[in-house]
Symmetry: C2
Subunit: 204 residues, 2 copies
């Protein structure tokens, strides 16, 4: 049986979502049509509104509805520490950093990580915009908070080398590696324990 065309079209359109294959898309479409017609309408309106209104922050590259995002505006008004710049891969990572309430500086969002195999080079992650900002002065420290994956580590290394070469006065740091809170040594991988041992600190 060929499904009705509006249904086939909806199933196909749902596959634009990450991690949604043909089976999930079909399940989602049936669920929406059977139980969530109002929710489907609301989703359609939200998609249009988001596509129309959301753009990139001129300073940090994250998603915003204004010229500058909330955090960069706060930095301009002196309500955040403009001398520290934290480099993250995605807005989700930025949100996670903010949830810690342990960081008061500003951000630069790469919107990706350098990954030559996927065709993502420095240009695709706004590298020159980042360097221009770092070299413009006023920034004392760059905190590299990319993921601890191969690509994230390579991206951090690439940025660290560039900052050291082109802005020698700027301190470059990386988030510490170590045993996670609540972690049991028995179940943590040896590489992590090796890093935690190397970076051990005086007991307070």
């Amino acid at each position: 049986m060929k499904p009705p065309s509006a249904l086939a079209e909806l199933i196909d359109a749902l596959r634009v979502l990450p991690g949604v294959g043909p089976k999930s898309a079909q399940r989602m479409a049936f669920h929406l049509l059977q139980h969530e017609r109002d929710g489907a309408g609301r989703l359609a309106r939200s998609l249009d509104a988001a596509a129309a209104r959301i753009r990139r922050c001129q300073m940090c590259n994250t998603f915003t509805e204004d010229e500058l995002c909330e955090l960069c505006s706060a930095g301009r008004d002196g309500r955040r520490d403009g001398t520290t710049l934290c480099v993250v891969e995605t807005p989700a990572d930025l949100a996670m950093m903010e949830q810690t309430h342990a960081y008061k500086g500003l951000y630069f969002v790469l919107m990706g990580r350098i990954s030559p195999l996927d065709g993502v080079g420095p240009a695709e992650v706004g590298f020159e915009r980042l360097m221009a900002r770092v070299c413009a002065g006023g920034i004392a420290e760059v905190v590299l908070a990319t993921n601890f994956t191969h690509e994230g580590e390579a991206t951090a290394h690439f940025i660290a080398e560039a900052v050291k070469a082109r802005a020698p006065g700027v301190r470059v740091t990386r988030l510490a590696r170590g045993v996670p809170v609540g972690g049991e040594l028995e179940y943590v991988d040896p590489g992590t324990i090796a890093h935690a041992l190397q970076d051990r600190r005086e007991s307070s």
Copy 2:
């Protein structure tokens, strides 16, 4: 950081999809905004079109854009066998039955299964519409193809008893249980093997 409101609204709206929690919704929203703005627009239009055009088939209860679905129309024109009625839980199950190319009759789609714990009784699965159709005459066999879960089995039992009581001339059958194609006995559960043994058939 409070995300911009159109973004927060989109993340919240995406949670209407089955199996999508706050983290997945955030990931989907960021993905759409960064890589799939066109796809997001297409999804919005598909959602609206589907909600506006798709309704229930007057005969079998499945999704359709017309009065009757394609299969029921074919049944009315004599291109499908109108004397056999297969009862399935969802349009996805109907599509799976059709993919076998082994069934030429018509369907009734319950759009669910009887599950008193979830507040789903016979009325919620269109039981009386099904019985009216079976009792109206012209149907020689009802094939119960609900899932082999507790609820699916209970639903099949409930319908079987009702058909036997109210339409005694109609044959009621259930899909066979047994070892799946490609199944290795060592890895099939004992309950399935017990059924396969009980329903064993002459080697052809």
